[in-house]
């Protein structure tokens, strides 16, 4: 018997916030598309664009499956209405453009990009339910998704996680290659769910790390290559505590962290309907929003094709350069990073106590104990492209970066709660509200970018652009001229200024360019 069709209604209304460019060649299928679903047709046959399908999926989940009436990813076309409320001057913003719930959108983007998403929040808030939905959207039956879900517990062994050698082979084998392994089915799935990952013992976490990080599992020299997949992990304690400390390498593999927000009792009626109708949304997912493997692969390709303008990229660079620099960490210029200090096991307060004369309130780097890894930067770009794609854009907007960055850096950027910024009036909430804090960091970085007028006057960017045209045919004289330009720029940049993160990275870039021209000059002279 077919499923309850009202739950399977997929929005036929346009979900794209941008008015589309009218197609000059109107598709035959447009005549036959409307409020009645044609369950006999796959989405390919119905000619639905994948980004539209992704949006339909989002709206089906928010309207039908997960009661998440939160719009914490806020977009505005016009200035929004902002209400200041309460003694603590809390701001309630009414966005003026289509906005989204992070609890629904981020997992969906994770699904589309085959990345890794961690759900955090108290028990019973829908973390596992959301993860299961992603498995169903990937085309797996609900039962299979539930059975394949790995539940973390303190007694979980590597064999529980990955599989077992066949006992008969263990007895009879003369060499290790003769032992066959019975691998766990979940390893071959394209949506992998680990429930309560922070209850997995440390030894087993290491095995999980291999699968998450390198996409293969290994038992007794036998390798199982896993397919590319989206990962959904849940944890109750956002600090990674729980029963076991989560190893840092495993935490670092997670791409985004999403918090399950509190349930609004005004929507109790919807819960009551679920109980009375005995409906589980994951069991009535409409066929139209099931993605085939080929479709998800195409989604990834399409997302990768979303472009990033030089202006937006420049701001992302500026923002990311704020955090790693630590002037007192080393003598060698390249080693003046927080990572150097951390590797030397220097106490953090010992570092911060050393006064370099920088404005510790203005310096964004003072707010964090670490910088950003390459992996994090790649994740940031990937998810920013994904959200732009979801919104129907072919190019990233700055607002896309601003909305995504807190979820990507949620567990990656570690705040220094003793930093003067958090003690400033009105900033206390940022100690606990990590999403708002990271967004604030981004806003402050953009403000500083504007103050420095880097869109118009950016000598380092100009030199980089000049270099990127290539060295082919560059004469020795020109190379020398460029070297002199760099050597003159450095003292000019530092004139009376303290060394901040962005300047530090600029100087390293100048050193890089200088070195490349020096090597080139040497080579040209030998010709």
């Amino acid at each position: 018997m077919s499923r309850l069709n009202i739950f399977q209604r997929v929005s036929q209304a346009p979900t794209n916030p941008h008015p589309p460019t009218a197609s000059k060649n109107f598709d035959v299928a447009d005549l036959y598309r409307g409020p009645i679903s044609d369950n006999s047709a796959s989405s390919e046959n119905q000619g639905i664009a994948l980004d539209e399908k992704l949006r339909q999926t989002y709206f089906w989940i928010t309207n039908t499956a997960v009661i998440s009436p939160h719009y914490d990813i806020e977009y505005n076309e016009d200035p929004p209405q902002v209400f200041t409320l309460g003694d603590s001057r809390s701001k309630l913003v009414l966005p003026s453009a289509q906005s989204y719930s992070s609890f629904i959108l981020l997992p969906l983007l994770t699904f589309a990009t085959r990345s890794k998403c961690l759900f955090i929040g108290g028990p019973g808030r829908g973390k596992t339910a959301s993860a299961i939905l992603m498995g169903v959207i990937a085309g797996y039956p609900v039962r299979e998704v539930r059975r394949a879900m790995q539940h973390g517990h303190p007694q979980m062994t590597i064999a529980d996680l990955l599989g077992n050698p066949l006992p008969a082979d263990l007895v009879n084998a003369q060499k290790i290659e003769d032992i066959r392994i019975s691998w766990r089915n979940w390893l071959g799935m394209r949506v992998k769910i680990i429930d309560e990952y922070n209850r997995i013992p440390t030894r087993t976490q290491s095995a999980l790390l291999t699968v998450m990080g390198d996409n293969y599992a290994e038992i007794l020299n036998h390798i199982y290559e896993c397919p590319d997949s989206a990962w959904f992990l849940t944890a109750n304690d956002e600090q990674g505590g729980g029963t076991y400390q989560v190893i840092e390498a495993l935490r670092d593999r997670i791409d985004v962290v999403v918090q399950a927000l509190a349930f609004n009792p005004h929507f109790l009626k919807d819960l009551l309907t679920r109980i009375e109708e005995n409906i589980r949304p994951e069991e009535v997912v409409p066929r139209q929003i099931i993605f085939s493997e080929a479709e998800v692969t195409q989604l990834q390709n399409d997302i990768r094709a979303v472009s990033v303008s030089p202006e937006v990229l420049s701001r992302i660079e500026f923002f990311c350069s704020q955090f790693e620099f630590c002037e007192v960490a080393a003598d060698q210029f390249e080693y003046k990073t927080k990572d150097t200090a951390r590797l030397a096991s220097i106490e953090w307060h010992a570092l911060t106590a050393q006064d370099t004369g920088r404005d510790r309130l203005k310096d964004l780097g003072c707010q964090t104990k670490n910088g950003l890894s390459v992996r994090t930067l790649m994740t940031l770009l990937n998810y920013t492209k994904a959200i732009a794609y979801f919104r129907g854009s072919l190019e990233i907007e700055l607002e896309d970066v601003r909305q995504i960055v807190p979820f990507v850096l949620h567990d990656k950027l570690i705040a220094d709660p003793d930093a003067p910024f958090f003690a400033a009036p009105g900033n206390g909430a940022y100690r606990t509200d990590r999403v708002s804090w990271i967004r604030k960091l981004f806003d402050l970085a953009c403000a500083e970018y504007d103050r420095l007028n880097l869109d118009r006057e950016n000598p380092v960017a100009e030199l980089s652009a000049e270099f990127s045209k290539g060295l082919e045919g560059l004469s020795a004289a020109d190379a020398r001229a460029r070297l002199i330009k760099i050597e003159r720029l450095i003292p000019e940049m530092m004139k009376g200024r303290k060394l901040y993160g962005n300047l530090y990275d600029d100087l390293l870039k100048l050193k890089y360019l200088h070195q490349r021209y020096t090597n080139y000059l040497k080579w040209v002279k030998t010709k």
């Binding site: 018997m1 009202i6 739950f7 000059k24 109107f26 005549l31 409020p35 009645i36 679903s37 044609d38």
Partner: protein, 324 residues
């Protein structure tokens, strides 16, 4: 009184059908159980009986599709007791689905969804003639030997009934149909031949094969489109026009559209304002225009290769003149 076929289907899935109705009732509070039952008995039942004679294995598929479609159509008041669609809705069953069961039996769910969606699209397009479409496609049923053929005919009929944006697609589809059927669809003379008719259609959007000799040799008004939004039209303010060389673009207040228009009707399609702004104003008015002084000052004009569009300061309507 329903037939044994429908009774058997309803009996076997009683709980599920009841649940579906209950949930639909929650979504569509004006969903009327009596009207719904009447529709099942009057329209769905005969359809299922017809399907049962040809493909008994598809009866359940047909029943479920019909049940869910009826919930949505009645719930959204597209048929049942919405005045515009009441007769259409029943006519679709009685004139198309039931008589056409022999060609729809293999994929009844596709037929139900496609036909009702087409009906909704026609009914929802200002100026489109849904009733005409229903009777036209019904008249071609005896000549269809497959549902794909029916849907091809239905597409051409939809174009002829006012969905002008399907022009190119429909002409392509017509190439794949028997010539006799295509000429009948266009009420063209058999002697003309489809290729000749097609050539004229491609060259002149204002050519009507039913009246092939009505092609004057002067610029003439062929259509007036649009109206004030307060009177049910799309334009909040008197519109302006530009062109992108191929098509006419329209702007009214802060909205803009691309116009598709021909002798069978016209449709408007939303476009970004930037696309309108990048269009071109008309440069030179052709000679021999009718006198429009009573309309007030002309506020804009633009042309495609075949059509001139004029707008006036006191009018929310756009005059279209044929240039061919």
């Amino acid at each position: 009184m329903i037939s044994a076929v429908l009774a058997a289907v309803l009996r076997s899935g009683r709980e599920d059908f009841n649940n579906r109705f209950a949930i639909a009732k929650r979504t569509y509070q004006e969903l009327d159980a009596q009207i719904f039952s009447n529709l099942l008995a009057e329209c769905v039942d005969p359809f299922l009986q017809a399907i049962a004679e040809i493909r008994p294995d598809q009866v359940n598929v047909a029943a479920n599709a019909a049940f869910d479609a009826s919930l949505i159509l009645i719930g959204q008041r597209l048929i049942g007791f919405h005045a515009n669609c009441d007769s259409f809705g029943r006519n679709v069953w009685k004139q198309i689905l039931i008589p056409g069961a022999r060609i729809f039996a293999d994929r009844p769910d596709r037929a139900i969804a496609s036909i009702f969606n087409a009906l909704c699209n026609l009914s929802g397009t200002p100026g489109a003639r849904a009733e005409q479409w229903t009777s036209e496609v019904a008249s071609f049923l005896p000549q269809c030997n497959h549902d794909d053929m029916f849907f091809a005919i239905a597409l051409i009929a939809a174009w002829r009934c006012g969905l002008a944006h399907f022009r190119k697609t429909a002409i392509d589809v017509a190439d794949r149909l028997p010539e006799k059927i295509v000429l009948q669809l266009f009420h063209a003379n058999d002697s003309d031949g489809w290729q000749s008719v097609k050539k004229k259609l491609m060259e002149n959007p204002w050519f009507d094969p039913a009246h092939p000799n009505q092609i004057p040799d002067h610029v003439r008004v062929v259509a007036e489109i649009g109206a004030f939004r307060g009177f049910g039209g799309p334009f909040a303010e008197p519109p302006l026009v530009k062109s992108n060389d191929e098509d006419i673009l329209i702007r009214s207040a802060d909205e803009s559209w691309l116009l598709t228009a021909d002798s069978f009707g016209s449709t408007l399609h939303k476009i970004p304002l930037a696309e309108f702004e990048s269009g071109k104003n008309g440069e030179v008015l052709p000679k021999g225009l009718p006198d429009f002084s009573a309309k007030g000052k002309m506020t804009s004009f633009a042309s495609s290769p075949t059509t001139l569009a004029l707008t006036f300061e006191y009018s929310h309507r756009i005059k279209l003149l044929s240039l061919v």
